[in-house]
């Protein structure tokens, strides 16, 4: 087993009745990577997360983690992964300390060993002062910190996080990603994270982009963005169809239309922006030029806008 094959997903398929959530999904994840699963709601990433967390049975295909088969030896896999759920798995009626103690007991930690591990974690996550507080009285950001501390208690080699930024304000979100980066550096923890928030996924080493149960891209965020040529012109207009036709006739452009928005990939952005403005200024509401984002990558790969899928 090479380190590239630390986690291996082969021909994974999952269906809810008639609906296909994952379709012939293949992936290899290396040890020590920060790996992101990016996709809109309904892309299959939550299903994938649940299967990886051993909460959904494998219907089709095979997953191995550190050489252990998730199909046949789920308990070996469970010992190696720490899971951070989107909706907190903390018991609000218990204190932070009690939550951590229960978690330890579930993984066979007890006595001095558990005590010293909890002491380490509360220092690392700066939750010493809240140890005796009921979890239901903590803020969202603090709860998420405790949740992650809980997931890491048994020193898993892999940390699995489902939409960890949901409900967090931008400042707390930054803190969270710093924490994950530190963890990845100091303990070489492999981090698998799902998200539908484009900006934060720039922090990943490798990204798999999911759409309708399929993997549509796999690369570093930088290289993915380089696939989109040069720059992106975004035009907002009240007459998207007419303007699109006009632009195509005049400049022979390839463009994407989504609602009232037109997007054009171009290598000569400033020049083109000027030309469009000269010819069609009456049809433009706004026009702006930007570096490609992961949203542009998604649009280019799937033909539909990231936000418009649900």
């Amino acid at each position: 087993m090479s380190s590239e094959d630390f986690i291996n997903i082969k021909c994974l398929g999952y269906r809810y009745g008639d609906h296909t959530a994952l379709d012939d999904f293949n992936l290899s994840i290396g040890k020590g990577e920060i790996f992101g699963f990016l996709g809109p709601n309904g892309s299959g990433k939550t299903t994938l997360f649940r299967i990886m967390a051993t909460l959904l049975p494998i219907q089709k295909g095979k997953i191995t983690v550190d050489g252990y088969s998730l199909n046949e030896t789920p308990n070996e896999v469970r010992k190696r992964i720490g899971v951070v759920f989107q909706s907190p798995s903390l018991d609000g009626k218990l204190t932070v300390r009690e939550n951590l103690i229960h978690q330890g007991h579930l993984y066979g930690f007890r006595g001095e060993k558990l005590k010293s591990r909890i002491a380490e974690l509360i220092q690392q996550f700066q939750i010493e002062e809240r140890l005796g507080d009921l979890v239901e009285n903590l803020s969202g950001g603090l709860k998420r910190r405790v949740e992650i501390a809980k997931g890491l208690l048994h020193r898993p080699e892999i940390l699995l996080l489902d939409e960890p930024s949901t409900g967090l304000d931008p400042a707390v979100r930054l803190q969270l990603w710093k924490l994950l980066a530190d963890l990845n550096r100091s303990e070489e923890t492999t981090i698998l994270v799902t998200s539908h928030i484009l900006e934060e996924m720039e922090n990943c080493d490798i990204l798999a982009i999911l759409d309708r149960g399929k993997r549509v891209a796999l690369d570093s965020p930088e290289r993915l963005k380089n696939q989109v040529g040069g720059e992106v012109l975004t035009i907002e207009t009240s007459e998207p169809l007419r303007l699109a036709e006009n632009l195509q006739n005049k400049f022979q452009l390839g463009l994407f239309q989504d609602g009232n928005e037109l997007r054009i990939e171009t290598r000569e952005g400033v020049l083109l922006m000027q030309k469009i403005h000269e010819s069609f200024s009456d049809q433009l509401s706004t026009i702006r030029l930007s570096k490609p984002t992961l949203g542009d990558v998604f649009l280019k790969l799937t033909g539909h806008n990231f936000g418009s899928v649900s």
Partner: protein, 256 residues
């Protein structure tokens, strides 16, 4: 993987949560108590169990009300499973390497311990129903109450595990669990019912637990050994429901 430690921790969690939520203590005790006082007193002289002209309604209903307290406690303790599994504490329990046996056992043990505590609180009213609890009848009483609690919590667990919403559980409670209680001999004796109903009552596992409880309350420790068959059935039911619990947990981890 160790079985005892996860079982203990899950049991402990149930107990701590219970004692922190005062409304639950009252919720499971108050309703049956009101039922008992109102119906028991109201029936007064209009109710006489067949073949026994001396027992008052208050006294006849006492063991049944105790079972009702256990039933309500079991429902309260297991209804949380429905939401807990999809978005709550149970998620992390299920993704941990804790043996599935200890997940089921810890939960049911927790629920039955709480039920036992509630039933013991109700025991202070025993003299009002004409029962005297002696030192020798206390231990058999604990055994019967615990077995009843285990079976009913297990039943609640098995049902809750298969549900997607708490509304569904309420429907089950009204359509299945309450009739099950009603037809256990708690409200009227088996002997006075029509034949078809007698058949249903004899098929009801709760009938045996209730009969054992009634006998221990009425005749103390000596009667305890006379209820070997009733106790045996109740024990068997607890074992079967535990196995069923294990089976549903293995079959279905989250909502799919």
């Amino acid at each position: 993987m160790n079985f005892l430690l996860p079982t203990f921790t899950l049991w402990q969690r149930e107990m701590v949560r219970f004692f922190r939520q005062k409304n639950r203590i009252i919720g499971a005790l108050a309703t049956p108590l009101v039922f008992w006082v109102l119906i028991g007193s109201g029936m007064g002289k209009s109710f006489r169990p067949p073949g026994d002209e001396t027992t008052s309604a208050l006294s006849y209903m006492y063991p049944g009300i105790m079972v009702m307290i256990i039933l309500f406690t079991a429902i309260f303790a297991t209804i949380s499973v429905i939401e807990d599994r999809r978005e709550g504490f149970l998620q992390s329990v299920l993704s941990s390497p804790a043996p599935r046996e200890s997940i089921v056992f810890g939960k049911i043990l927790g629920g039955s311990s709480i039920a036992l505590v509630q039933a013991l609180v109700f025991l202070v009213f025993a003299p009002l129903a004409g029962f005297t609890i002696t030192l020798t009848s206390f231990i058999p009483l604990l055994v019967v109450l615990f077995l009843l609690g285990f079976g009913l919590t297990g039943l609640g667990f098995v049902m809750a595990w298969q549900m997607d919403s708490t509304q569904g559980f309420h429907a089950i409670m009204n359509l299945f669990l309450m009739p099950m209680w009603l037809l256990s001999g708690s409200f009227f004796p088996v002997s006075g019912a029509p034949a078809w109903l007698q058949f249903v009552m004899m098929a009801n596992p709760l009938t045996y637990g209730l009969r054992a409880l009634r006998r221990v309350l009425e005749s103390g420790s000596v009667g305890f050994f006379n209820s070997t068959m009733d106790l045996g059935f109740t024990f068997l039911f607890s074992v079967l429901i535990f196995i069923l619990g294990l089976w549903v947990v293995r079959k279905r981890t989250v909502i799919s």
